[in-house]
């Protein structure tokens, strides 16, 4: 060492000396970097370092995300939305955190595999191997808890299933579940607890165990791969360089996953929306709106699929699949260091680990295959099965009779029903995924409105959004009779044919009104064909009187359609000519024409014979007819089958609330928030 008082030395050196004297850091750094690597640096030693790198990335991105995240049922989704779609760089930090978590699971598997194959779990490294297993559990625990935090439909429903499984643990299960969930139901405290686990307890424990893991690793030194073909080298810089290259490779893959959609968009000439890169965000969690495509993250899919293996075992199967077998596998891994003392035991360990990884891979493939079966199966081949089920209403006895009570044929039929079921389930999965995408997109669009998200949270936005609620309400209350399908759509013909009341798609538009006044269409199922009105005065007027070119010219009929649309004033891009509207209004009010039955304009026709044309199709008019079609303004005497949705029976509740009716009316009229 040079003389401490030498004036020639620079300030930096003197400062460094000052700290070294008091801390001895130079020796520490030296020890950290100048570790001997027996047999020279190798690529196979990089996995541990990449894991440390991945974990550091998670800590850094996690802390930044934490600084913008708010864990509660009304703010979790909302704050994640804000991070992902509005904050500068939010998509990148969240994307890194999300994709690196998945990379970490893959790296864990590789690290484990390498340690087992190299026999690095044998004496004296047993304890470090166990620490590794614990670290693995902690990482998986963080993955599991992190999935819930955005509080979107996907995470919410998948985690619900996972925590229900916690209830299966003998004796303490139900209490355990209640503790994890933070109460009897999912809510604020589920989030706060999961967040505390995810960002506090689990990483804190992990850091402690990781420190011991690394210290022990240094104590025992690297478990060198035999035979050593090269001379020993030093950790710095040979192995460090290899580690750094591996880290960069991991980072490149992660960035690639995040940025690939952007590259694709650019190549296709679409604009790049940063909010759509990285991690996706589903629609906000809705406890009353099930999500049929709820699946765990891909690296937990094998566990999800494993539960299905025990199908038919009842409660025992569940217990076996979710608790006993995974527990036994983990227990087995803890015993590996003892088995590994024998050569045969080591071989067994390697095979066992491989079998677990291959098994998990197979189960994952099975899960994916089931979900995506419809993509490569030919459903047409099962048309006869579908038909027989329909004809017999799926009554086993009738089916047996139809198959001539032949056991072989019945068995074959059952098998094919099974296959058909699989295809249908897969179709349902596709539909649910597609719907989830639509819902997510809509939620994000609504959240981005200039009015922002109300204090009640994004769910409130969705529950008051006609575009989101309309289809659900319609399907539940109107869809058993009415169709609502674009006539130009390929499935329109079939949907309309099976409906028993008018197709309400585009109701109130000029196009819809033209169809009503078209003699061919008015008798079709798209209008009155499948209703009692098929025999009514309106249909005969349109098919007889209005086809007589002396009383009704084509131009006059068009004017009436346009005037109807003008009164309805639904959302439509078709410009309406004011002069034509006036002409049509006059024709409608004319007591020798429409006005002979309909109250319209200023005419004196009484209400009751036919629906009121004043304000026809307007919001107020629609609310009126949905609430009470028997009202004198609509069909007091000739209502076919339509229930009064807004009228409560004595002491009862109306089938639909006034808010729901308004939502339906707005939806039918195309009145909802439209982003740019």
């Amino acid at each position: 060492m040079s003389d401490a008082s030498s004036p020639r030395r620079g300030l930096v050196t003197r400062l460094a000396d000052f700290f070294d004297d008091r801390t001895g850091y130079r020796a520490l750094v030296h020890e950290a970097l100048y570790e001997r690597v027996p047999g020279g640096a190798r690529w196979r030693y990089v996995w541990g370092s990449t894991l440390v790198f991945a974990f550091m990335t998670q800590v850094i991105t996690g802390l930044v995300l934490w600084s913008s995240y708010s864990a509660s049922a009304q703010t979790a989704w909302e704050s994640v939305y804000y991070i992902q779609h509005e904050m500068t760089g939010g998509w990148l930090v969240r994307g890194l955190h999300h994709v690196m978590a998945q990379a970490m699971v893959v790296l864990l598997a590789l690290h484990l595999m390498q340690v087992v194959i190299d026999g690095a779990y044998r004496a004296p490294r047993e304890v470090n191997f166990w620490l590794g297993l614990i670290l693995m559990k902690l990482v998986l625990g963080m993955a599991l808890t992190g999935y819930l935090l955005p509080w979107d439909q996907k995470g919410y429903w998948a985690t619900r299933v996972a925590t229900n499984l916690a209830g299966l643990v003998p004796l303490v299960g139900p209490s355990l579940q209640q503790l994890v969930v933070g109460g009897p139901d999912y809510g604020h405290h589920t989030l706060t607890r999961f967040f505390a686990l995810h960002a506090g307890f689990l990483p804190g424990t992990l850091i402690a165990f990781l420190a011991i893991h690394l210290a022990l690793f240094r104590k025992h030194g690297l478990c060198a791969k035999q035979p050593q073909t090269k001379p020993d080298s030093m950790f710095w810089p040979d192995q460090v360089l290899k580690d750094v290259v591996a880290m960069l490779a991991v980072l490149a893959v992660v960035m690639g996953v995040i940025l690939l959609p952007a590259v694709r968009a650019m190549l296709e000439g679409r604009p790049v929306v940063p909010g759509e890169l990285g991690a996706e965000l589903g629609a906000p969690a809705d406890p009353s709106q099930p999500y049929a495509a709820a699946r765990p993250e891909w690296y937990f899919l094998f566990l999800f699929q494993f539960l299905k293996v025990f199908e038919g075992w009842g409660a025992d199967g569940e217990f076996l699949g979710a608790i006993v077998v995974p527990g036994a596998v983990l227990g087995m891994m803890f015993l590996m260091p003892f088995l590994g003392r024998w050569k045969l035991g080591h071989r067994f360990n390697v095979l066992f680990t491989l079998a677990i990884l291959v098994g998990a891979g197979l189960l994952t493939a099975m899960a994916l295959r089931e979900d995506y079966a419809a993509a490569w199966s030919d459903k047409e081949a099962f048309a006869d099965v579908e038909q027989l089920i329909e004809e017999t209403e799926n009554d086993p006895e009738k089916i047996a009779a139809a198959l001539g009570n032949d056991t072989a044929r019945i068995a074959e039929f059952r098998e094919r029903v099974h296959q058909l079921d699989a295809i249908r389930r897969s179709e349902a999965f596709f539909a649910a995924v597609e719907q989830a995408e639509v819902d997510a997109h809509r939620a994000i669009e609504l959240a981005g409105r200039p009015e922002r998200i109300p204090p009640g949270g994004a769910l409130e936005l969705i529950r008051t959004d006609p575009l989101s609620q309309g289809p659900l309400l319609f399907a539940q209350h109107c869809g058993s009779c009415h169709a609502h399908v674009d006539p130009a759509a390929p499935e329109a013909a079939e949907a309309v044919a099976v409906s028993s009341a008018a197709n309400l798609y585009g109701f109130g538009s000029a196009a819809w009104a033209r169809g009503l006044l078209d003699p061919n269409q008015v008798v079709s199922p798209a209008y009155f064909g499948n209703t009692a009105h098929a025999e009514g005065d309106m249909v005969s007027y349109v098919t007889d009187d209005m086809t007589d070119a002396d009383t009704w010219t084509a131009e006059q009929i068009e004017a009436v359609a346009v005037a109807l649309a003008a009164d309805a004033a639904v959302f439509s891009d078709e410009p309406l000519d004011a002069a034509v509207v006036e002409q049509g209004r006059a024709l409608m009010a004319d007591e020798d024409r429409c006005g002979s039955c309909h109250h319209a304009g200023e005419n004196e026709t009484d209400l009751g014979a036919a629906p009121d044309l004043v304000g026809w199709g307007s919001r107020e008019w629609l609310i009126g007819i949905i609430s009470d079609p028997n009202h004198e303004r609509f069909y007091p005497d000739t209502n076919d089958r339509m229930p009064s949705f807004g009228v409560a029976e004595e002491g009862g509740v109306a089938p639909l609330s006034s808010e729901q009716i308004a939502l339906l009316a707005n939806w039918l009229r195309g009145e909802w928030y439209r982003g740019e």
Partner: protein
């Protein structure tokens, strides 16, 4: 660094034992107090009861089709989530079913007894299906084997008064063979 001082003289055995004992006990009290307080608070959720388990009005009997095909109805009730109170929120769903010309209504919870997903009605095949792990149930809630579900669909107590249907809404533990209501 100061020069290393010589090893202190060994204390006598009795005093040393007392010192050790007191250090362990004192240290234990000091460190375990916050742990105990923390555990106490962490166990709070065990005291919370679900707000449900009451008879709730669902619908009018006329709305339940009398052809043996169940229909889904939302269960609306006030709900609290820790500090937040929700008025009249959908808290779940039931399937109501009525045979032809019958005035008795059967009620099933739409929550799957397997792991709590939401059971859907397949009108075409006249059965219930759960989209999560493929449990199927007959229209009267029975198991279609093989099934991951350990039990039939959960029936709910249901009463009809003056044409109004009310259901006792309860949640049950999932994944076990017996139907046990959550407190």
């Amino acid at each position: 660094m100061a020069e290393t001082s010589p090893v202190p003289p060994a204390a006598d055995a009795r005093r040393s034992f007392l010192a050790k004992l007191m250090a362990v006990v004192g240290g234990g009290i000091a460190s375990l107090t916050p742990v105990a307080a923390g555990v106490w608070m962490t166990l709070d959720p065990l005291r919370r009861k679900s707000s449900a388990a009451a008879f709730l009005p669902i619908t009018d009997i006329a709305s339940v089709p009398d052809d043996g095909v169940p229909r889904q109805f939302p269960v609306i009730a006030d709900r609290t989530d820790a500090w937040t109170g929700f008025a009249a929120e959908p808290i779940g769903a039931v399937y109501l079913r009525r045979e032809a010309d019958s005035d008795t209504v059967e009620a099933f919870s739409a929550t799957c007894p397997h792991a709590g997903c939401f059971i859907e009605l397949d009108k075409r095949d006249r059965c219930f299906r759960c989209p999560c792990h493929n449990s199927s149930f007959t229209l009267d809630g029975g198991i279609v084997s093989p099934s991951p579900s350990p039990r039939t669909m959960d029936t709910l107590e249901c009463e009809v008064h003056d044409g109004r249907v009310r259901v006792k809404w309860e949640n049950f533990y999932s994944g076990i063979a017996e139907k046990v209501a959550r407190p």
